[in-house]
Structures are given as C-alpha cells and as structure tokens.
Amino acid sequence: MATRRDFLLMCAAASGVPLVASDPRQAGGADVPKKGGTLRVGFYIEAATMDPHFSGSKIDRQVYHNIYEPLVTLDVKLGIKPGLAESWQQPDPKTLILRLRRGVKFHDGTDFNGEAARFNFNRMKTEPKSVRKGEVASIDSVDVVDAYTIKLNLKRPDAALLATLTDRAGMMVSPKVVQERGSELERNARGAGTGPFEFVEWVKDAHLLIKRNESYWNKQGGPYLDRVRYRPIPDDTVKLQSLQTGEIDVMDYVQPRDVAAVRADRNVVVVDVPSLADFAYQLNHTRPPFATKALRQAVAYALDLDQIVKGVWLNVGVPANGPIPPTSWAYDKTIPPIKRDLAKSKAKLAEGGQANGFTFTMTNNNIPINVQEAEVIQAQLREAGITMKIKLVDSATLISDGNNKNFEMISYQWSGRPDPDGNTYQFYKTTQGTSLNWSGISNPQIDALLDRTREVSSQSERRKLFSELTKILHEELPMVFIIHPIEPKAFSPKVQGYEPIPDGMMRFKDVWLQ
C-alpha cells in the first residue's frame, strides 16, 4: 500500500507545485521491484512512424522514449541530465562538446559511438524527408574528436540546443539499420535503438509490441517488464472504461471531466503530470478588429480565467500568465495572469473606437472541451458588450486557416517544449510566410529580446529576459493565454514506479507490475 499512497501524494502535490520523484527502489520493504509481466497501454491513437527523424506527431514519441535514447534527458524539474552523452561542455557559445557513454550497443548488436552520432546528425540535416531540419538548423557541422567524443560546431549561439537534444533530435538510430533497411524503418524499428526496450512488432491498427532489452547498458533499476503492448483506443470514455475493467493497465490522458470520478475509483490510480503546454487563442494582428491593440486588450480584460479553469477544466490546470508553464525554470510566478476587469475592458473598447462593443469570430477545434470553453468565453465577452461568433472546424481546417491568417481569433493548443525557447521564439518572432506566428505580430522590441534569449547562456539571465518578454506580451497580446493544463494519466494500482516528467512521455524503464 505504501506505493499507492505515494501515488496519491503525488496527485495531491501536483496542483502546480513541483513534484518529487518517487524512486521505485525506496518504495518500502515488501515492495521490491520484480521482473516480469506485460504492461498494456491504451493511447488515443496509434503511432505514425517508427523513424524518429521523420516523425511529426506527438504520439510517436511515447514509443520512442522506450526504444530509442536521446543524447541527454530531462529530469522531473526539466533539468538536463546525462543520457547517451555522459557529460558535455561549452568552451564558447558556438561550440558544444559531448562525451559519449562507452559500452552502449544498439539492439542490432552494433556499437554506439561518435561516428554513429555524426551519422545521425547528418541524416537529420540532409535526408529529404527529415522533419528534424528546423531543430538542428543551428548546427553547422559535427566533428568526431575521438571514438567517444563529438564536437558540434554551431552557426550561431543556441541556448536551447541541449534541451532540443532531449527529444527526437537527440535520438540515436543504428546506422546499420538505416543503411540496410532505411525505408522499412518507418514501420519496423527492429534493432534500431539503444533503449531499455526493443521493438518487436507493430501490427497496424491493432497493437505495437516492445520487449525488455536484456543487455541494456544501465544496470541500475529496470527494465523490469517483459513486454509493453500499446493499443489505440480513440474514444476517451471507452478508454477509461477499458482501464476500469482491467483490459488495459495504463492510459495516456484522463479528460478533466473524468478526473473526479476516477479519483474515487479504487481500481484506478491517477497521477497528475504537469505539462509544458500553453493553451491560448491567437489574435490576428493583420486585419480588423484585432489590428487595433485596444480591442485586443478589451477582450483580454473581459475574460475571467479563473472561471474558465474552474468551470471548464475543473481545475485540472492553472490559469496561464503567458507562454511559459509553471513546470519551467523560466516561469515567473510574480507575474499574475491578466485579471478580469470589465470597467477597463469598456474603457479599452472606447479607446479602440468601439464604445458599444464589436463583433468577431472565434475559430476553434470541434472537440467537446474546446466547444465548452468557447461557449463560456462567448458568455463572458457578452457581459462586456462584445459579440463573439464561434466557427467550429476540424484540425486540418484550423491549421490551414491559421497558416493563411484566415481568422480573427483562433485556438492554439501548444504541447510545449522543455526549453522556454520552444514556447516563444517561433510564435512571436517576425517571420514571413508560414510559421507558428499565426497572429502576425512583428515587434522590434520582442524580436530583439527573443534573439537575446538564444545568445546568453546563463539560465538566470535568460529567465529575466523571458519575464520581460511575458510582460510585453501582456501589453501587445499576440495571444490571450488561458491555461497551463495538467495531463493526468491513470494506472491500474498494480503498476509501480512511474516517474512523471512534465514532457508527458511515459518512460517505462523503472516501471514494474505488482
């Protein structure tokens, strides 16, 4: 029972406060991790590809983090810790030297070393189908210094690079597998990784199976599980019921509406995982009405974030004060979220030349909780004299409307990145053509700040810059920020040793079954 209490403590701790990792080895006398068993995992959708260099969807990463390993990894506080690279140093802002771990073998038996690492970076940079190009753009070239040391020569200082290497851009694939069956890798990752689990098979639409890597380099802790079986279950309600009836042991996400009920269920353990996400609405600066700053502010002051977070999200998240989530070291809790102030909203309406209110359209994804949020926002704005129409579309249309700036206000739910750079730069930096800067904001002060955050490497100095940025965003409002959601995951009580890292990825290395 001790571990079950640990889980519950975690849930209690999770409402915004940083989490303490529960080390499975300290889980108490009788509960010593044991080997064996198959973990059955339910995800809302199945993976798209097994090739980390070609992957463009979040769900793929859930599998990758068990079969592949990045050069560096994240800890629960989003700090960078050694992965396939044992240590690193930065002699100057444009050079990063990584010392690689010795004795690591890919699942196909080949050695992981400097040459393999260079092969991977070159593949990411040059392969036509590579989706990683943007993430490794700051890397000019890779030198192999000795068998287990590589040197990344950068085009420009990039303070966010290490954090980027904690995910797909840092994942190492066996060069032999790529050379021999590169095209097949998308569907079959046998032998390709170095991780605690090996790819076994992927029966499309049915399941994806991985098994324990018996010769895993890290002899501390797991892997304990014999196998992990992933299954796609698209309907949230059905997925939850599958967990409650014991058809699966783990599910990736519990809807806020189900959280209370699930907490009351003794057959299910919920772990709140604070996320890196920020959910917001982009306002189109390139056309009326939101080309006028005062009208953007009128909308921001009319919103009651507390009510939205409480009423729609049922407190499964915290009101957002900007793009950077509370899980990040760069989060500045002294900046409060914008408070509702109807008088101020009215004044801003008058300032924007619309004293009697105005009408605009919100474009949103047709997902129940988004619809609910839209309806609440609509009611709140009505109290300020602003009429909001709601246009519901599927995600393909949403993305195309956003890219083409064919909207007035549009939902944007960013899953977040470990470094604050990933939550800011691409959204607010002046850019031409398609980018995630859908609002079209172009502000020299913001541009300069953003560039600066990449150049300085001291964390405390970057933190100040991001605080400054957040304050300017409150004024300029390329987006109205709503919530930093928590992503609750649910387990069967027999699942032990899960460590919730805020990137939401489920790493099963130290997980075991009671």
Binding site: R257, A260, K389
Partner: protein, 256 residues
Amino acid sequence: MLLAVLAALAAPLLAPYDPLAQNLGNALARPGWAHLLGTDNVGRDVLSRVIWGARVSLVAGLVSVALAVVAGSLLGILAGYCGGRVDGLVMRLMDAVLSFPPLVLALALGAVLGAGLGGVLVALGVVYTPTFARLMRGQVLSVTARDYVDAARALGAPAWRVAWRHVVPNAMNPIIVQASLSVAFAILAEASLSFLGLGIQPPQASWGSMINAGRGYLQQAPWIVFGPGAALFVTVVGLNFVGDAVRDALDPRIRG
C-alpha cells in the same frame, strides 16, 4: 412527434429558462424541481435546451429532406421524361452519389461548405437526393406508359404541363411515405454528424449536438443525454409511425 413540433414552434413560451444562460456554479445539477431535466456541463437548463433544440433538429430533418425531394423530383422527372442520354447521365450521377459512403459525402461536403446548419442541410440534402430521383423516375416511367398521358401528349399539351398535371400527383404518395421516413433518418444523421465534429455552431443546440456534448458525462450526469435522447427517440418513432400509417392508408390491399 406533435409535441416536438409544438415545442419547436412555441419554444420561447414553453422553455422555463433562457437556453443559453450559463451558471458554472450549478453545472451538472441533478434533475429536480428547479431544473426538471437537470443542468448541463456549463450549468444550462437541459429542458429549455431540449425545447429549443427541437427547432434546430426539426429544421435539419425537414429542410434537408425538402431539398432532397425537390432536387430529386426534378432530376427524376427530367430523367424519366426525356429518356435517352439525359436519363443515362442523370441516373449515372445519382448512382455515383448513392455509391459514395454517405457519411464521407456529408463530411466532405460539410467541410467544403463550412460548418454550421447550412452545411449540414445541404450535405444531408445531397445524400438523400438519389432516393427521390429514382422514385420519381420510376413513377414517371409507369405513368407515362398509361393511355391518358399519351392522349394528353397527342393533344399537344406541353411537356411540363403533362408532367405537372398527370405525373406529379400520381407520384406524390410514395414520395410522401419515403419523405416521412427520410426526415427521421435525417434527424438521426444530424446527430451522427455532430459526433464526427460536423454540425451546427454553438451556442445553438440540436438534440444531436446535445447528446454528443453530453456523452462524455454518461456516468456522472446521464440526464444531459437522457433529455435530448428521449426527445429524439420519441420524434423519430413518431415519424416512423406516420410513414407507416401513410403507407397503409395509401395501399388499399394492406388496409384493414
């Protein structure tokens, strides 16, 4: 069913609350004297929304089928009357529409036309058109083979008048039967479309969109789904009985 029509017409009088008035503090309230059917996930009165939803749902069913009847009948008459190439072309077109998976057709049409009631109406209208076109063509062919139509033609009556005078009245009965059933299906289809994320825009509500919004709360607050579900069920059952009754009444062999 009559009740549904009544509710649709008299919604402003009948509804105890404003169907849009939210009260987040009173969300998911159980049915009780204050809210006979409880409240939904943002604290709106379910009963009031069911009553107002009757409008949208009935409009979705009636208008889309009306569109299909008109378009289908015109195409059917055209095909049956002109024959030859026109017939071939129209009917192949109808076959093509018919062999499309209906949900995909509606989904794609809805996406092209933009979300909202208009898109749903047209999408459903197109889906049901071939049924009526086939029906009408069959009627035209059987009627035009009859002597009195030949006679009218021989007397030099223009084609459209012959069609209007002789063909349409004869074809009306089966079309009414088919239409009453199609309305039922269209109301259901609207619910299915809202499940797939294509439907009317909030804060407006149809029974289908209410059921869809509430289905995630089936365990915590089944009343959100129960109200509109019951309304939908009763209306569709009613429409089916009407269809049967009309059919029985029109077919003397079955009567009695």
